[in-house]
Amino acid sequence: MRKTSSPTIAPSEITPRDMYFGRRRFMQAAAGAAAAALLPRGLSAGENLPGVRTGAYVLPDALTPFEDVTHYNNFYEFGTDKETPSRTAGSLKTRPWTVSVEGEVQKPKVFDVDELLKVAPLEERIYRLRCVEGWSMVVPWVGFPLAELIKRVEPTGNAKFVEFITLHDPIQMPGQKSSVLDWPYREALRLDEAMHPLTLLVFGLYGEVLPNQNGAPVRMVVPWKYGFKSAKSIVRIRFVEQQPISTWTRAIPDEYGFYANVNPDVDHPRWSQAKERRLGEFFKRPTLMFNGYAEQVAHLYAGMDLRKFF
């Protein structure tokens, strides 16, 4: 498989750390990390993830500021406003946390999240994130390809799809007290999509442990699909034979399909998808087929009518 299509990012193009943290933030993070080192617990939000190397996929695009990435979130488990999750997600306890990998696999296993973190080396990848609502970001994620985990649990011949299920606990996730969606949140990928080297199991962003509002402690990132396909705060990963019904597809089937590939030619029923606003920019930019990852992923959908399988 092709390793990369984007030119490798030059060190001079990377936003300096002090520009997106600021000295004060850095001092707080350092103090937090020092305190954390004394406590017998896992990593928590704000701490740096150790041993992260630069991954194969990095964009030359300017990064969306840390502040915007962490304060503009669609995460209905914490409220339906985009500003709400950053205020309400503090109630989520990300340690201890386990992820059960089950279903059509030879070696099902319940992973402690700190054990899961060590399944493969962590890398930083800079991906575009395109929301179905017409805005986009550029985020430096930290994680490893989901394929690394899938190989370890050895799917059986019956495994055709992989389903991701988010924590269901209205005490920790106050948005779940409202029945605005069917909880828990479910998303799914075809097995070949899940195995694709771009598909990332994510534990952090900007070098830090994921903030709760961004899907701590572990989430998916599938950069050629609309953001809602990337499940957050995952507790179960199931390998199944039948195509699962995703939460948004169940809620509004004619607006949110199973594939949800970024596609400027297929409008959302309520708005055009031809353009998008990159956060921080005034003029809209044209949306790219498969969010700009067509060279890597178009073959997955060869011969499919993407209007029908939207």
């Binding site: 209905y76 985009k82 805005w135 309520r270 055009s272 353009k275 005034f282």
Partner: protein, 205 residues
């Protein structure tokens, strides 16, 4: 009981200044850069929210006047209605300039294809003749009856505006539902008054 003219004027000034608070907050947010990650969306949404709010407040004047038996309340109606138009203009130009930047092709497609815009656009356009004919001179020129008939368009605009909001949100309809319930109450009051008046007319005849 009718308030003193001075008190009434002071109240008018107070209402006028209060109605400018949402604008002042947006302007301050824009100047300080505190409108969040997507300030364009914030401006358009906030202006839209206050358009609907002022439409409903305007429509509340008549029921309040009748229920409280305070005819002087009507003095505030024109100003409140004009604020609805003002925030509506901000909402619409926000969409036209900040969101689409005069991309007429995209705008026409939106109006034709997206139900929430198909309904929202005429709801705003209908407010223009009402704003234009809001002066005393225009009232006199049109004559009371015609003027009143024309200004009943505000009901159409308010209903359209609430549907526009309902169709915009994807799943959490709590906010638009609040507007819808309030509007139903305000229009329901008028329906009851109308039916009673008719019943009285019938029994008198």
């Amino acid at each position: 009981m009718r308030p003193e003219p001075n008190a009434l004027r002071a109240a008018e000034t107070a209402v006028f200044l209060a109605a400018l608070i949402p604008l002042a907050r947006l302007a301050a947010g824009a100047a300080l850069g505190t409108l969040g990650a997507n300030p364009i969306e914030k401006i358009i949404r906030t202006a839209g929210y206050w358009t609907l709010s002022f439409l409903l407040i305007t429509l509340a004047v008549t029921p309040l006047r009748i229920l409280l038996r305070q005819p002087w309340l009507v003095r505030f109606r024109r100003m409140l209605g004009l604020f609805a138009f003002f925030y509506g203009t901000l909402h619409f130009t926000g969409y036209l300039v900040l969101d689409q930047f005069f991309d007429w092709q995209a705008i026409l497609k939106d109006i034709a294809k997206r139900p929430f815009i198909t309904v929202g656009f005429p709801s705003f356009v209908l407010l223009i003749p009402l704003a234009v004919t809001s002066t005393d001179a225009m009232m006199r020129r049109l004559g009371g009856k015609h003027w009143q008939r024309l200004h009943r368009l505000v009901y159409v605009s308010a209903v359209g505006g609430v549907i526009h909001y309902l169709w915009l949100v994807k799943k959490d309809i709590a906010d638009p539902l609040r507007f819808a319930i309030l509007l139903t109450v305000l229009l329901g009051f008028r329906a009851i008054v109308l039916l009673r008046r008719r019943a009285r007319a019938v029994s008198a005849a």
